[in-house]
Amino acid sequence: MHHFMLANLLTEPVGVAHYMAVGAVLFVCGVLCMALKRNALGVLMGIELVLNGANLNFIAFGSRFLRGEGQGLGLDGPLMALFVIVLAAAEAAVALAIVLNFYNNYDSVDIDRADQLQG
């Protein structure tokens, strides 16, 4: 068992686990946003948080400062993070266009108003 000691909180380096802990918070916050927000744009913001939680993981797994040389994902980490950033931009552009289209048709961005399709 490896415990995070409060005693050496400031004098020792952090590890991948600490980054993952932050990533987990971002991820869960994002999931909660997706689940709880009624505003479509709020949901999109949740998605951005989720993607960033994953990105933080990728960066942590790839970083030489956190795991030492030659360990972990290596360059794959930052490269995947880079691609995720670009793909997220693309996704956000389309999602936003769709939300605006919805807004034009419904005069609302309330996800719960999207209820014409039920059966």
């Binding site: 400031l10 960033n52 972990g72 552009a93 939300v99």
Partner: protein, 201 residues
């Protein structure tokens, strides 16, 4: 440098507190504009964490594309739709409780998993200080154009074979961006014809 404060850890704590704090603020804020602002702060702090992990290039990209591009886009969307009744929307309390309980459980699980996996634990301070600072853009650029500089210093031979170059994703993503651009433009622009003529379906 002695045994004093290890500054990267100090800044890690600072940035992670900011990132997590603002992420929570996004969840708990009801005003969508403030949510957007908190999100900006959270993602900018994440970029700070990237810098701390030694990934300057990705950090700068995060600031440039994500914070400077994607989120401006989102905020733009917020403003286009910011009528009074949508700025603040309430979620029923029952959903909140269920969501929070599940969320806390998931965080606890992920934290336990992170802190109990041996290979994810911190290296010692001496080791961390011995890690050489290298340019970050060069290896990434080479990997995007078909080569891996880290292939040579990977001690584990089984892992060496799996070090792919990222030429294909890099090129194909440009096609993707083009297609997505067409799609977004198609949806966002005004209709070209009268509505009566079209509308099959």
């Amino acid at each position: 440098m002695g045994d004093g404060i290890y500054w990267p850890t100090f800044f890690f704590l600072l940035f992670s507190a900011l990132a997590c704090g603002f992420a929570l603020a996004v969840v708990f804020s009801r005003n969508v504009v403030r949510m957007a602002f908190y999100l900006v702060m959270s993602l900018a702090s994440t970029a700070g964490l990237f810098f701390l992990a030694g990934e300057d290039f990705v950090g700068a990209m995060q600031l440039m594309i994500y914070v400077g591009g994607t989120l401006v886009l989102l905020i733009f969307g917020v403003m286009l739709t910011s009528q009074k009744q949508f700025v603040e929307m309430k979620t029923p309390a029952g959903q909140w409780i269920v969501g929070l309980v599940t969320g806390c459980a998931l965080v606890a699980l992920l934290w336990m998993a992170a802190f109990e996996t041996p290979q994810w634990q911190p290296i010692s301070r001496a080791e961390a200080e011995a890690v050489a600072v290298q340019p970050t853009a060069t290896p990434i650029g080479v990997a995007l154009t078909n080569g891996r500089v880290d292939q040579l210093d990977q001690p584990d031979e089984t892992l060496r074979g799996g070090m792919s170059s990222y030429l294909l994703p890099f090129e194909i993503v440009s096609v993707h961006l083009l297609v997505v651009l067409i799609g977004a433009a198609y949806l966002a622009r005004a209709k070209r014809r009268s509505p009566s003529a079209a509308a099959p379906g």
